[in-house]
Each structure stands twice: as C-alpha cells, then as structure tokens.
C-alpha cells in the first residue's frame, strides 16, 4: 500500500516540489484544460486529480497527499454562486476554512496549501495559481517532516 514517493534529490539537482491539485470537474478542471489548449506555460510540478465538486474534496485527501510525500496542495473549484450542484462550494468553503486554521494550529505552514476558485474560462488564472503555488512551495523546501513521522521502529 505505502509507496514512498519522496523524490530523491541527488547532489546538484535543484529541489522540484510535488504539488497535488484537487480540482472540481466543472470549473477548475475545464479551466486547466483551457490553460493547456491555450498553450500557457505552467510549472510542471502540479499533478491534477479531478473530483466531481470542491465539496467532494475531503480534508483527508490533503492529509493523505502530505502523508505520501506531496510538498504542496492546491484545492480549487467553481466560484461561489457558480457551483454545478448549486451549493457544494459553499459547504466546502466552511469546511476548508476550519481545516486551514487547524493545520496552522498544529504547526503546518499554511503556505503549502492553496485554496482557489477558478472558473472554466479562467485559464490564465489557473496558470497563475499553479505558478504561484509551485514557486512558494519551492521556497518552503521539501515537506519531509510529516511523512517521516510515519517510519516505524522509532526509539
């Protein structure tokens, strides 16, 4: 089950962060698609996982991503009022507001998680979200501290 995905940084190679993006199918995924078909240059560090709605994105997804070696996470969905299911992102917004503050309370740098609304027509905004997150996480460095706590046989 547990596949170590922490990148092996050999001497001389710069740190390239792994960023996992959880996006909603209807807005952000389509927006990211638009960014791609528009040939916008984007940081290659982001891996997209498509979900039906931003309210489908459980905080556990984010915890799991970090557990398996992600250095940063993007969560993105439709702008409020534009949810394909009318109200999903309103519920998601409440949940993530709490999650983010809990993350901070536990001492995780909240700079590692980006929350955004990107609509289907905002290819350039997606490009910006991706590039901003990638460069910010790159500056923060690898997030080995959390996954490393999973090693068994500690003293």
């Amino acid at each position: 089950m547990s596949i170590p995905c922490t990148e092996v940084a050999s001497a001389g190679t710069a740190f390239e962060p792994k960023v996992v993006a959880f996006v909603c199918n209807w807005c952000t995924y389509t927006g990211a698609d638009l960014a791609g078909t528009s040939r916008l240059k984007m940081s290659p560090n982001v891996r997209i996982i498509r979900t039906p709605c931003s309210s489908r994105i459980s905080p556990l997804f984010i915890i799991k991503a970090f557990e398996r070696g992600a250095d940063g996470v993007i969560v993105s969905g439709c702008h409020t009022g534009d949810c394909h299911y009318s109200t999903g992102n309103y519920y998601a917004r409440r949940r993530f507001a709490i999650f983010r503050e809990l993350l901070d309370f536990l001492g995780v740098d909240t700079g590692r998680v980006t929350f955004s609304w990107v609509s289907a027509s905002e290819g350039t905004k997606w490009q910006q979200v991706v590039n901003d997150t990638a460069s910010r996480v790159k500056a923060l460095g690898p997030f080995n501290e959390y996954p490393a706590q999973g090693e068994v046989g500690r003293p």
Binding site: M1, L60, I63, E67, R94, F105, L106, D109, S116, G150
Partner: protein, 299 residues
C-alpha cells in the same frame, strides 16, 4: 439527593422509563481504608435501587455518551432517564440536532451544578487544583434543557483559567513551535480510541479509523498516523464538540486533546457565530452556509 432519588423512583415505578442513568458511589476494595470514594455511572432499573443514585462535585462523567446510538445494548433496555449537568445537556442537544436521538425518547433529569473535579476519585470538596478545566467560565450551571430539574444551585466552583491560558500560550507560539509541541504530544498516542469511545458526539456507526478499504488512517500508532487521526477527529467534531473534555480525561497518555477541540470551536464561533448550546433547534454550522461567509484564504 433525596429529590433525585425520589424522582428516579417514581419514573421507574410509573413505567415512564425503564432505566435511570446516573451516578453512584464506588464501593469496595479500591479505597478500603477510606470507605466509598469516587463515583461511576450507574444504571438503575429497579425502583428499589434508586437510593444508589448520588450527585455531587465528583460526578464529572458526561452521561450523554450513553444516549449515543452506537450504544445499542442500552437502547435495548428501553427508554432511559439521564442525569445531566448543564454541560452534558449541550451534548444531548447536539445528538438531537444531528438526528441521532429524538427528544421524546429520553427523559432528562437536569441537575444544578457547582462545578466538578477533574477525576471522579478526587473531591468531593472543590479546590482550584482539582476542579475540571471544563468548569472555567461555565455558563451552564443552571440546566437549560431538561424535563425535571433537581437540587438547589450550589456556589460556583473556584475559577480556573488553566486551559484558557494553555490555549492562548499555544496560539501565540510560532508554527514551528506548535508543530514541536503537537509532534511530542501526539507521538505518545497509543491509538486506544478511548477519546472516541467516551465522546458523546462521536456517533459514526463505522469510524473512518476502522475502515480499511481504502485505509485512510495509518492503523499503527506512528506519529504521522496519530496526527492524521486527531486532526480528522477534530475536524469531525467541528461544530459538534461540546467541550466536555471527556476525551482528555479518558486519554491514558494525558494528551491535551481538549485544546484541539477548543481551538476549532473558537474558529467556528468566530467565523460562523455558532457556539455549542443546549438548544437543539439551532442548525449545525457545517450543515448550513451563508453566501457571504468569509473567504479571505481563497484566491
């Protein structure tokens, strides 16, 4: 005390309820030299046994946990009457609010409370070192949700700001210092799930920690898995936690779990104007939304 016993007796004798859940003295070998000391939950089904019931400052346990629908063996006895302090009534209200309990399925015996000790073996006198952290700043000494209310209002407990201070100290630290604190605290967790078992508001029929397809949470007690577990629990308790601190009392490792719950409760109150109350008609904060909820953290 007599008022409580009398009420329990009549409720049982009239057949209004099948069991009265309250507190009784621990008799027996634990403190032979000192006689009865400490209290434990008591389940009285026979009116003749109603004299076992007691209530004083040692009665720290939150008996609302027995109304949790996970406790099927209790449901099978029949309709219960439960002795609830003001703080416990918040948990009862929470269960009703969340559709886990119907108001007409329980008789609530409210007790006026003068504060409780941290551990039921302490007391019964209340001194500042022994008073439960949950009693600091209590506004529910007079029950607000009840069918019957017994006893006179005792004087307030010695005030304690222990926990508020601990929380404020932690909130003032840098993120790195907080991580060090939680890493150390949560590394001690042995994943006995006592926090979950004692929690009146942990009512999932199957807990996410028990699911293994997929396995969301490491089942072995690594610090990583422990952080994920306690974070998940704190999130699931957002807008539910009634701050009874039973998780902290049950924890064999003395992890300050109440701080997680209290912090999340503060966030919920600041953002959504919701505070766990004894009013079961208020909607749960994560089950509703406002179109103008703050979203300063979203780009």
């Amino acid at each position: 005390m007599n008022e409580l016993r009398e009420l329990a007796r009549s409720l049982l004798a009239s057949g209004t309820v099948k069991v009265v859940i309250g507190y009784e003295n621990v008799e027996g070998a634990r403190w032979p030299a000192e006689g009865p000391r400490g209290v434990r939950p008591s389940f009285v089904t026979d009116p003749a046994q109603a004299d076992r019931l007691v209530f004083d400052s040692r009665c720290v346990q939150n008996l609302a946990a027995y109304l949790n629908p996970r406790r099927q063996h209790l449901v099978s006895i029949g309709k219960p009457a439960v002795v609830v302090k003001g703080c416990d009534a918040r948990a009862v209200a929470g269960l009703i609010r969340e559709g886990q309990l119907r108001r007409e399925d329980v008789v609530l015996i409210g007790v006026r409370c003068g504060g409780v000790v941290r551990d039921p073996a302490l007391g019964p006198g209340l001194i500042e070192e022994e008073v439960s952290d949950r009693c600091g700043g209590c506004e529910d000494r007079e029950p607000k949700l009840f069918d019957h209310v017994v006893g006179a209002l005792p004087p307030p407990p010695p005030s304690s700001t222990r926990r508020a201070d601990a929380l404020a100290r932690l909130q003032k630290m840098t993120a790195a210092e907080r991580w060090t604190f939680w890493k150390e605290s949560l590394s001690r967790c042995v994943r006995c799930y006592a926090c979950r078992e004692i929690c009146p508001m942990c009512f999932c029929v199957q807990c996410i920690a028990d699911k293994n397809r997929p396995q969301w949470l490491d089942s072995s007690p690594t610090t990583r898995g422990n952080v994920a577990w306690h974070m998940t629990r704190a999130l699931h308790q957002a807008g539910r936690c009634v701050d009874c601190l039973e998780c902290e009392r049950a924890c064999p490792e003395g992890i300050p779990l109440g701080l997680l719950g209290r912090h999340v409760a503060q966030v919920v109150e600041r953002r959504f104007g919701y505070r766990a109350s004894a009013d079961p008609t208020v909607p749960v904060p994560l089950g509703v939304y406002r179109t103008d909820d703050e979203e300063e953290f979203i780009v």
